[in-house]
Amino acid sequence: EFTKVAADPSIVNLGQGLPDISPPSYVKEELAKAAAVDRLNQYTRGFGHPSLVKALSQVYERVCGRKLDPLTDILVTVGAYGSLFSTIQALIEEGDEVIIIEPFYDCYEPMVKMAGAKPVFIPLRYKNGGNSASSADWVLDPAELATKFNSKTKAIILNTPHNPIGKVFTREELQVIADLCIKHDTLCISDEVYEWLVYKGNKHIKIATLPGMWERTITIGSAGKTYSVTGWKLGWSIGPQNLIKHLQVVHQNTLYTCPTPLQEALAQAFWIDYKRMDDPDCYFYSLSRELEIKRDRMAQLLQEVGLKPVVPDGGYFMIVDVSTLNVDLSDVDEKQPYDYKFVKWMITSKKLSAIPLSAFCGPATKRQFEKYIRFCFIKKDSTLDAAEVILKNWNKQTA
């Protein structure tokens, strides 16, 4: 629904999560090179183009400190979305329960249901205190989390860095989850698409690297988020062979192979950055530095309007509590959550779009999150400039 609205060019679109910045030029060049090779326009290996799975295994061996077999421990999919689908179809069965942390990326719930399982929700809760809210203030209650695990629990879906809040789960927080997974023999589906986008003072930790977790975790990554090429729709699942083989079966019976030239180009891009993983110019680090500046600018603009942004430790989204603006929308359709009404009003009257946070919640928590909206800040300077004009003029019009 909100994607359609955003197609209007007169609206400053900070809603949908896609960059309007260009991918790095070497990434585009590698694609051009790949397309020029005849055989790279034909089918490649179903579970992942050999040079790509090799490159992924090297990068992630370094990150995880563990040897990876590119042919058995990795599956390349159509975006991280495809990895989520293959993982859930492969490992979740009818009657299983799957724990989902709210707010959540909206596809988790329908995918779990499609597998015949029951989603069990647990919300991140805002710790009181502190003037400028940070994503770190949003935490799981360990006791509450423990109550969600039972003998039917097949998996928990973890998303770190988190969309929409931008939370980067700490080692301690991951340990709480890991302990429960081990205790109840539960799988962990770890959506880490924003893994490189962590800001100063934070570190992205892979839950699969905690003791006892490798054998029960599928870690999902995304080329779209790593290289600012969401339109390439390439993602991957990494995990132990005995789990990945089931994902491969699903993949083999749903789309068989992913596009070849894109995979080859991605492989080459990974080699370029793998070689400079000790260098600050590596895109994995330079992109997050670029985004940190945008994050800080976005936060400041929102604060100047009198809003309370939740400054994210990672990812490229920022949520904001808009209730302080006291925009009265009580005459609008009652049944819709406040944030939906707010966003629609903001699009029409301010020509600025965002996504309402209740879109990321289960039915029970919609009330809790309906005063928040989500902005995406992986936008070029001119887009942020346009947003700045709107925000600076905001109070003048509503006075």
Binding site: Q16, L18, P19, D20, S22, P23, K28, L31, A32, A35, A36, D38, R39, L40, N41, Q42, Y43, T44, G46, V78, G79, Y81, G82, F85, C107, P110, M111, M114, G224, S228, V229, T230, G231, W232, K233, L234, Q252, N253, T254, L255, Y256, T257, C258, P259, T260, P261, L262
Partner: protein
């Protein structure tokens, strides 16, 4: 999957897996490069989930023209990750637990597992070979459905029939009469038709590819599946599409939205430009859709000749880039093992790739488990290969024949 691995290890000439070893046409490669390097870098970001607007628009225009029907790009067309994912969406969307789905044998091997994955029950009906006229080579047209047998497969549980024309592996191009037979039964029993037409442009000898959706009573119950990979010799791009009535496509959209959501943008943009060019050159000699079948027909004839000369009996395909040959004359090389679980042609194909370096696929791979031994002395060759490859295949065959006939 198994045969792909064997070919990779042993083969010097791979006529097994179905993809061209020649490149896509220049105009398409150029479109791809223009898309990825152009000023509009947003082509590297998400596009519309159900299909990149320029692509669905041109597909609606092009297929609207072919079907003589006004198509809405937003509701009558959906883009998928290859025809493979289109098939997946069809089965998931339209087949419910307990439904029966009729599959014509021999069939593209994914139909069976996909029907099962959707909780459906595959019901098989074979194409049966009729002996060709004296002295003539068998044609794929000689493999036919028995009308009474086909009718007997329709029951009240039948949800859909999968039609693949032109047919992989035989190369059969269903005639109007044959399609009418199927259509009548679909209408009579209110059954859907999943029509896999990926090889729609690869028809030879002036034959016409007829779209079953254009027959009376069929548009409303048919989903047509197409493939850029086969249409433009770019199988590695994995761009496919479905065309059909909104009442069916809306369900495909739901499945698509919850499994892959978006397809890669750049490839869609390039395919859209490819179709634009083809629309402008429709029916003209420079059209790729005219040139490609012409080029492939020559290769077909070449391979037919090669095989015939050495005693493998080719079934001349009316379409696709596949050819099935009867290997009965070569049985002396690979003796029968009566108690073997493995179908004869499968053992033969394995022996051939290991000992002769020539890869092909056994026909039994295209039959369900229970019927694998019904037609077990045929192997499938792919002839979408460069001249040098076909010549190398000929050399292997000639050498093989010489070895058989010399003392």
């Amino acid at each position: 999957v198994e045969f792909v691995k064997l070919a990779a290890t042993y083969s010097t000439v791979n006529l097994g897996q179905g993809f061209p070893d020649f490149p896509p046409p220049d105009f398409l490669k150029e479109a791809f490069v223009r898309a990825l390097s152009g000023e509009n870098h947003m082509l590297h970001q998400y596009t519309r989930a159900f299909g990149h607007p320029p692509l669905v628009k041109i597909l609606a225009q092009y297929f609207g023209k072919l079907l003589g029907r006004d198509l809405d790009p937003m509701t009558n067309v959906m883009v998928t990750v290859g025809a493979y994912q289109a098939l997946f969406c069809c089965f998931q969307a339209l087949v419910d637990e307990g439904d029966e789905v009729i599959i014509i044998e021999p069939f593209f091997d994914c139909y069976e597992p996909m029907v099962k994955m959707a909780g459906g029950m595959p019901v098989f009906v074979p194409l049966r070979p009729k002996a060709p006229k004296d002295g003539k080579l068998m044609s794929s047209a000689d493999w036919q459905l028995d009308p009474a047998e086909l009718a007997s497969k329709f029951s009240e549980r039948t949800k859909a029939i999968v039609l693949n024309s032109p047919n992989n592996p035989l190369g059969k191009v269903f005639s109007r009469g044959e399609l009418e037979l199927i259509a009548d039964l679909c209408v009579k029993h209110d059954v859907l038709c999943i029509s896999d037409e990926v090889y729609e442009w690869l028809v030879y000898d002036g034959k016409e590819h007829i779209r079953i959706a254009s027959l009376r009573g069929m548009w409303d119950r048919t989903v047509i599946i197409g493939s850029a990979g086969k249409t433009f010799s770019a199988t590695g791009w994995k761009v496919g599409w479905t065309v059909g009535p909104n009442r069916l496509l809306q369900h495909l959209r739901t499945v698509h939205q919850n499994s892959v959501y978006h397809c890669a943008t750049v490839a869609q943009e390039a395919v859209a430009q490819g179709f634009q060019r083809e629309l402008e050159l429709y029916g003209k000699p420079e059209s790729y859709f005219v040139q490609l079948p012409k080029m492939l027909q020559q290769k077909r004839d070449w391979l037919v000749q090669s095989l015939d000369a050495v005693g493998m009996k080719p079934i001349v395909p009316e379409g696709t880039y596949f050819l099935v040959a009867d290997i009965s004359e070569f049985k002396s090389d690979v003796p029968d093992v009566p108690d073997s679980d493995e179908p004869y042609d499968s053992r033969f194909a394995k022996w051939m790739v290991k000992n002769k370096g020539l890869a092909a696929i056994p026909l039994s791979a295209f039959y369900c488990g229970a019927h694998k031994n019904n037609y077990n002395h045929f192997i499938r060759f792919c002839f979408a290969k460069e001249e040098a490859t076909l010549k190398a295949a000929n050399d292997i065959l000639q050498k093989w024949k010489l070895e058989k006939t010399s003392p």
